[in-house]
C-alpha cells in the first residue's frame, strides 16, 4: 500500500487505473451534487442565497466536465458495482428532525455537499514530484481549490438562522455524512493500493 498516488510513471503521471477509479468516484459524487442542485434550483430566483445554488450547479458540472477530459481512462471491470454503491450513498437524506420538508431536504443536500467538499481532498495525495503539467494532477488541484470555495455556501447555510433551532440534528447528520463519504473515499483508494492515514 502507498500513502500517495503512484508509483508515478516516467513522466510523473498517476497510473491510469488509479486515475480511472479516482475520477469515477469524483464524477459520481460531484455529478450527484450537480443533479440535486439542478432539481433544487427554481426557474425564477426568489431569494439572494439562491444565486449561490446556481453557482453550485455550474461549478459541480465544471468539475465533472474537467475530469472527463483530464483523465487517462483505463478499462476497469470493478467500476460497475463500485459505482452502484457510490450512487446509492448519494441519495437525498433529508434531516427528518426538521418538520419543514423543503428545509429538511435542503439541509440534507447541504450536509452531503459539505462532506464532499470538505472531506475529500484529492490533491493532497499527489506526490510532491508529480508532473505539474499533467492535466489530471492539475484537475485534482483545481477541484480541491474550488471545493474550498464551494464549501462556503454549505457553511453559511448550515450555520445560518434557518437551522439554528435544529443545530444538534444538523450537526449529527453532517458528522454521519462526513463519516460515510470518508469511508467510501478511503475504500476506493484502498482498492487501488492507496492507504490513507485516519
Amino acid at each position: 500500500m502507498n500513502e500517495l498516488y503512484g508509483p508515478l510513471d516516467s513522466e510523473g503521471r498517476v497510473p491510469p487505473l488509479q486515475q480511472t477509479r479516482i475520477a469515477a468516484f469524483l464524477i459520481s459524487a460531484h455529478g450527484a451534487l450537480a443533479r440535486q442542485s439542478a432539481f433544487t434550483l427554481p426557474t425564477k430566483l426568489e431569494s439572494a442565497w439562491q444565486t449561490e445554488l446556481n453557482a453550485q450547479l455550474f461549478r459541480e458540472t465544471e468539475i465533472v466536465s474537467l475530469l472527463m477530459r483530464a483523465t487517462s481512462w483505463a478499462p476497469d471491470p470493478g467500476l460497475g458495482y463500485m459505482t452502484v454503491a457510490w450512487e446509492s450513498a448519494w441519495f437525498p437524506a433529508p434531516v427528518y428532525e426538521i418538520s419543514d420538508w423543503p428545509l429538511a431536504v435542503a439541509a440534507g443536500l447541504a450536509t452531503l455537499a459539505h462532506a464532499v467538499h470538505a472531506g475529500i481532498r484529492p490533491a493532497t495525495l499527489l506526490p510532491a514530484e508529480a508532473n505539474p503539467e499533467d492535466p489530471f494532477a492539475m484537475a485534482l488541484r483545481r477541484i480541491e481549490f474550488e471545493s474550498g470555495r464551494l464549501l462556503q455556501a454549505q457553511i453559511l447555510s448550515l450555520k445560518g438562522p434557518d437551522f439554528v433551532p435544529f443545530r444538534d440534528a444538523v450537526n449529527s447528520a453532517l458528522e454521519r455524512r462526513h463519516a460515510e463519504v470518508r469511508r467510501l473515499w478511503r475504500d476506493m483508494l484502498q482498492s487501488v493500493g492507496i492507504a490513507i492515514r485516519e
Binding site: A118, A128, G148, R149, L151, I155, N171, E175, R197
Partner: protein, 296 residues
C-alpha cells in the same frame, strides 16, 4: 527572574494553533517545549488526525479539551502557555480554573479585539475563503517572521507550506476562526487571574502589538511583560531556545518562591541563558521610539 538548575522541569502545557513547521521530514525549528518540559500540547483542533468537528466548535470547547489534557498531568504543578489564539484559550482557562495553575504564560496574545486586529482577522478569514489554506499561509508568513529567519529558507518555503497544507483542513481552520466571531472581551475578567503570569511579546509583533499585551499587564496583578528583541508574532518558532529558556526560568522562579510580577516590564536577552534587562525607567514601552513616559 533568574537562571537556575534545569535538570528537573515542571509540567508545561501549551496551547497553540500554529504547528511546528517541517521541511522534507526534518524539523526547521525544534518545538520550543520539546526536551525542556514534561509537556502536553494542544493544537486547538487544527491537527490532521484529530477528531475535528465538521461545523461547530466554540472557545468553551477548546477550554474543555485543554482541561481534559491538563487532567492527564496529575496533581503536580502545572504551567500553561499559549500563543496567539492559543494564548486567548490559556487566558480563558486561567479565568475558569485559576486554582489548577501554578503559572500562566500568554504569548503574542490579546484579551480584546482592537479595530486593527478585528479587521485583520476578518481579512484573514476572507483570504482563507477565497484563496484557500495556501493563501492563509502565504500572507502571515512574512508578517510573523523576520527577514533573518526567512532569507535562508526562501527556497524551502514551498515544501514547508506543503506540509502544513496537507495536515490542515480548510473547514477546520475556518471553524476555528469563526469561533472568534462572537468574541467577548476578557478584559473585565483579567483581574481574577492571580497566578504568576509572564506575558511575552515580540518587539516587532505586527498582528498583536504591545498595546494588546499592555491590557494583560495592567489588569493581571501578579504579571510581568517580557519583550523579545527583534522578534515578530511567531517568535516561538524563530527563537525556540530562548522561549524555552524564558519559560523554564519563569517556572523555576515560581516554584522557588522567587517570582514577583509587580507588573514590571523586561527586555529579554538576544540568546538563551543570558540575563533579562529591566525596561529603562522613564521611557514609554508602548512606543517604538525612545519617548519619555507621559506623566500620569
Amino acid at each position: 527572574m533568574s537562571s537556575t538548575d534545569r535538570r528537573t522541569r515542571p509540567p508545561m502545557c501549551s496551547s497553540t494553533v500554529s504547528r511546528n513547521i517541517r521541511s522534507s521530514g526534518e524539523p526547521i525549528a525544534t518545538p520550543w517545549w520539546r526536551g525542556t518540559f514534561g509537556s502536553r500540547h494542544s493544537t486547538c483542533s487544527a491537527g490532521a488526525v484529530s477528531d475535528k468537528p465538521a461545523l461547530f466548535i466554540s472557545q468553551d470547547d477548546h477550554v474543555a479539551v485543554l482541561h481534559r489534557l491538563i487532567g492527564e498531568l496529575g496533581n503536580g504543578p502545572v504551567f500553561l502557555s499559549g500563543i496567539s489564539f492559543g494564548g486567548l484559550i490559556a487566558l480563558h482557562y486561567a479565568i475558569e480554573y485559576r486554582r489548577r495553575l501554578s503559572g500562566l504564560v500568554p504569548m503574542s496574545c490579546f484579551a480584546e479585539l482592537s479595530p486593527q486586529l478585528l479587521l485583520l482577522g476578518n481579512a484573514l478569514r476572507m483570504g482563507l475563503i477565497l484563496g484557500g489554506t495556501g493563501y492563509l499561509q502565504d500572507l502571515p508568513l512574512p508578517m510573523n517572521l523576520s527577514d533573518q529567519w526567512l532569507k535562508p529558507l526562501l527556497d524551502k518555503l514551498d515544501s514547508v507550506k506543503r506540509q502544513r497544507w496537507l495536515v490542515n483542513d480548510l473547514y477546520a481552520l475556518q471553524n476555528l476562526m469563526e469561533s472568534f466571531l462572537d468574541f467577548k472581551p476578557l478584559t473585565p475578567q483579567l483581574s481574577s487571574i492571580t497566578v504568576p503570569t509572564m506575558i511575552v511579546n515580540g518587539e516587532f509583533d505586527f498582528l498583536t502589538p504591545r498595546a494588546l499585551h499592555e491590557t494583560l499587564r495592567v489588569h493581571i496583578s501578579n504579571s510581568s511583560l517580557v519583550i523579545i528583541p527583534r522578534a515578530y508574532h511567531a517568535f516561538t518558532l524563530e527563537k525556540a531556545a530562548l522561549t524555552a529558556d524564558l519559560l523554564a526560568r519563569f517556572a523555576e522562579d515560581v516554584l522557588a518562591g522567587r517570582w514577583q510580577g509587580n507588573r514590571a516590564v523586561w527586555i529579554a536577552p538576544e540568546d538563551a541563558g543570558r540575563a533579562l534587562t529591566p525596561f529603562p525607567a522613564g521611557y514609554d514601552h508602548l512606543r517604538a521610539i525612545p519617548v519619555p513616559e507621559a506623566p500620569e
